[in-house]
Amino acid sequence: MSANSIWEYANPKKFIQTTDRVLPWISVLAVVSLVVGLIWGFFFTPDDYRQGSTVKIIYLHVPSALMAINAWLMMLVASLVWIVRRHHVSALAARAAAPVGAMMTVIALATGAIWGQPMWGTWWAWDPRLTSFLILFLFYLGYIALWEAIENDDTAADLTSILCLVGSVFALLSRYAVNFWNQGLHQGASLSLDKEENVADVFYYPLLVCIAGFVLLFIALVFLRTQTEIRARRMRALLARERMG
């Protein structure tokens, strides 16, 4: 195996060393881009001609919604890595990411509700996107609760990773089911590779900065929380060994 292979970071000690080195940089970058993006968006962008000033909520709503989904995808990949290669760091990273993803879902739902109040005239509508996010939040809750409930670390890692796989399939199914069940109020995607469908440029660039900020914040939090989980696991192992001996 080559010296700079990615699997090297599967070694918990190596992971802590490396993340300790990069964590300050990522945190600073995250804070800087969040501050710049949000200030740019809040103070220096015009109002939308239809939505008025509520368009400014986009800088929180879209990045948090994106990260809510991406966090689950990251957990899915980490779970697969755990199942296939059985690296503990991977399972613990999935565990560390779940609360962050759940919080992102809450932010996306909250900002969406606050935006929906003046725009659609209601805090909540059983619109497909809103409903899917609520269901996604339930999946996060179940996943976190299962981790908390099981004492043995390896058993918990196995069970939660299988739950994550099965949950992903059902979350996707729910997305289509909900679409079928109710046609929505929600506008189409705010971002896409097709330039025509994008939001206008004035909103686009600060939005990109905010998304970068959210991504970096997510990475920083997952690194930090994974370190914590590794240490907690090591502590449990040490305590168990002491009790035995």
């Binding site: 339930l138 299962l146 058993t155 196995d158 069970l159 099965v166 729910s174 089911a177 079928f180």
Partner: protein, 218 residues
Amino acid sequence: MIALLIRDLRLAMRAGGGFGLGLAFFLIVVTLVPFGVGPQSELLARIASGILWLGALLACLLSLDRIFALDWEDGSLDLLATAPLPMEAVVSVKALAHWLTTGLPLVLSTPLFGLLLSLPQAGYGPLVLSLMLGTPALSVIGTFGAALTVGLKRGGLLLSLLVLPLYVPTLIFGAEMARRGAEGLTYSTPLLMLAGITCGTIALLPFASAAVLKVNLR
């Protein structure tokens, strides 16, 4: 395999658990709904199919923790794990037994409960058909949830939290089909989707349940 099925069915009958309890729970839900929303029969007729689907789903959920609990406690689950029968088959038989003792009686009794909620005439066929197609999926998904929480002391609440989100697609298509039927609309699309979900879960989910059960028995 058949011996295991018969044993499970006999146990369920004797323990007086799943069989009567699920039905009684269903009856109570149906009785309580008019108290909650008022006795107007037009309103009840509109929501009847949805209420019956929800009631069936909750009744199903209630009996899930019994699927493996008894076998886990007396150690026969460990015996089954070492038996020549593959775990996937054990899990499928367990799900089938659960459906025969919980799902099937619910399906057969819904016409009666439909009367209580003044379900429109046209609704009976689609409702029974949708439950017939949907409840096997509920049992199979529930078996997966039960396998996940089998070793836990107070797994009941966690089991609901894990299983209910997984029930969403089945409930949506099943209730949608029953609703469209009751309103006299065509319901072939939700019927096909529901059948697809049921077939898919029956074919694939036992592998996940078996894997989970093996982890828990380790």
